[in-house]
Amino acid sequence: MNGVDEELIKKIPGLPIVMTTAEWAINAGRSNSIWTLTFGLRCCAMEMMATGAPKYDWARFGLEVPSASPRRADMMIVAGTVTKKMEPVIIRLYEQMAEPKYVIAMGACAISGGPFIYDSYSVIKGADKIIPVDIYIPGCPPRPEALLDGIIKLQKKIMKQKFRTVKEHK
């Protein structure tokens, strides 16, 4: 035990051996160390930045690092309007992310096209038309509290995963 007083450890019931399921331990590890892909598409990205900034501070929930590379990211927040020109980029970033990967659709645009659903020649009506989405957060834009709520919901979803059947997107 690295530097921890052995007498102290003996006082904690059960230690130094803790029994748990591998499933719980892995899921807890995953859900409390989600790295997000730094990826904003439009005005919703402002609220996403506010959520990451000290006032709301998503690091409290384990989203410590906004990863600048999709290969190190676990979660993609689609924060904004998905346009036809952006579609191949989003698919490519998503496919570069390592499994298991999660997607949050933030805001009306990413859910359904939002304000641009009618008479638009360039907007894709929802991120779920092109990539699988786990959590939808309504609002235009959603407040940082709503994004944090969505993140907590995603953590709960990760905790319910079965070890053998963690979804893999092909």
């Binding site: 009618y118 020649y121 009506k125």
Partner: protein
């Protein structure tokens, strides 16, 4: 400069097909062949040093595409709008990038949005739109996944 003054000076040198005042700004229609001379004249002889924008309007009923050039003068603090009517079936006009190089991107955007062909343009490629969307700002534009606004 008030708009009558600009109009008189312009008329003295170039043919003006039509003109009207709109919110205190002179709108003058000129012919497509003369566009380079008119813009050059406004820049060099009448101190209109800034090209605010270049765009177009689709006048479907009249079967026209109308080019719009808006210029501003820092010296006299006045605006002028030059318009050119083009044939909707085959809209073609000479580029003005040799006079105002800022017109480059404006013309590329107008070209992809309205299908106007700019002759002698230095870089006649798409600016913003991905391949597969053509002339979306024309009134009769259709595309398969476009949901029309419901009438209420």
């Amino acid at each position: 400069m008030i708009f009558t003054e600009i109009l008189d000076k312009l008329k003295a040198k170039h043919e003006v097909l039509e003109s009207k005042e709109d919110l205190g700004v002179l709108n003058a229609w000129v012919s497509a062949k003369k566009i380079k001379e008119v813009i050059g004249f406004l820049k060099n002889d009448m101190q209109f040093g800034q090209l605010s924008f270049v765009t177009a309007v689709d006048l479907m009923a009249a079967n026209n595409i109308e080019m719009v050039y808006r210029l501003f003068s820092y010296e006299t603090k006045s605006d002028v709008v030059i318009k050119v009517k083009l044939d909707r079936a085959k809209p073609e006009i000479e580029t003005i990038t040799s006079i105002f190089s800022t017109a480059d991107w404006h013309e590329r955007e107008t070209s992809e949005m309205f299908g106007v062909k700019f002759l002698n343009h230095p870089d006649p490629n798409r600016l913003l739109l991905p391949d597969g969307i053509d002339m979306p700002l024309r009134k009769d534009f259709k595309c398969a996944d476009m949901t029309p606004l419901p009438k209420v």
